[in-house]
Symmetry: C2
Subunit: 199 residues, 2 copies
DNA sequence: TCGCGAGTATGACAAATGTCATATATAAAT
DNA sequence: ATTTATATATGACATTTGTCATACTCGCGA
């Protein structure tokens, strides 16, 4: 019997997935969580065979949780909407055993789980292709600036928050626009988001 | 027996919900679609008791589909992530019989379906409160401009696309910022999105 | 230790953005 | 018929944003 812990912040999906997996006679959902923090506790408590996690969850993200749970016997599988390569790379580094997209047909879930339990690693094909495709070209400081821009802050606010001059901030932005091949702040935010480079 | 058509573009959720509902002895999923167009066809074909739809789907949105399906005997229930009041208001106008959030626990789904079949209307409580809370204060023209801004376009591009001068575009933006109580384009986009006023 | 590249920082300058006063058209209210 | 309100449109002006040349530091390899 494959013992499973599920972590997913969208309650409807959480419940529906639990129902779906419980239908399989070789599987049993032993715990469900709706944030990364609770997921960690449940895994430590129940020592399931596998933990299936979303990425974007409150309190602690699925990737954070995956990194913390590395080393325990429990296999980790990420189940998320995002085909952002940034997330996928980080998941690989965290040593997750599977990465499936919520766009995949539901039948694939049980199949993938069995494969992972059998020792294989399952990654959504769409991701493997584009994976190490593009590195985030921004430096730490530049990222810091872009995050503040995306937060709606203007140059002056950013400058005072980072204790640098407005000239410097504007220069960083200029470099950011250049590196991302765009021409204004709004496009920079769009591009950075679509690449999955935020956070 | 309650006959159900499901429409949801996220395959995993679509399959899981079907499994969940098929577990109820008084319910039967007679068709599933992953876009609004197919959902309409399935409803016309099967004449189910109720059709449960997501909003953001390819080809045709759930709200578009709901508007087209008005009048047929089939009850319509929206099941979506978005608690945006804009969506909710449009759904009410389309005469949907239920509006549930994906954040709600999965048990509520079957319960809500039975209530709707019994003739009641079920709306997520969170929404009813904030519903007619705020009207979108922008005029058509202003919305048009803001959509282009959110698309990353600059003043000159917007001006030439709308056949007005850059001065006019900048004035619209100034009015938009004022109406939304923000001070730059990026904040305007954020605010408009969080209110669910796009589209 | 010299040079090279990368990251950080600045200010001068040019271009884009935001503000404001103003004008016209149109529809509703008096 | 006249006032009032609203949407649309424009240009002058001030501020903010984006570009570019430049400078300093640090670590790395020659």
């Amino acid at each position: 019997m494959i013992r499973i812990v599920l972590a997913e912040d969208q309650r409807m999906l959480l419940g529906a997935l639990a129902a779906l997996l419980d239908l399989e006679e070789d599987m049993q959902v032993v715990g469900t969580a709706s944030n990364g923090e609770d997921a960690i506790k449940l895994v430590q408590l129940h020592k399931p065979d596998i933990c299936i996690m979303d990425i974007e969850m409150p309190v602690k993200s699925g990737l954070d949780a995956a990194e913390e749970l590395k080393g325990l016997g429990t296999k980790i599988m990420i189940l998320t909407t995002f085909s952002r390569s940034g997330y996928f790379e980080r998941a690989l580094k965290a040593g997750v055993d599977g990465y499936l997209l919520k766009d995949s047909p539901s039948e694939e879930l049980a199949t993938s789980i069995r494969s992972i339990i059998a020792g294989r690693r399952i990654y959504a094909a769409e991701l493997v292709d584009e994976a190490y495709g593009e590195e985030n070209p921004l430096t730490e400081r530049e990222k810091e600036v872009l995050v503040l821009i995306a937060d709606g802050k203007n140059t002056k606010e950013i400058a005072s928050q980072l204790y640098i001059t407005t000239g410097t901030v504007r220069n960083y932005i200029s470099v950011i626009l250049d590196k991302l091949h765009v021409t204004n702040r709004i496009e920079a935010i769009m591009r950075f988001k679509e690449k999955g480079w935020f956070k």
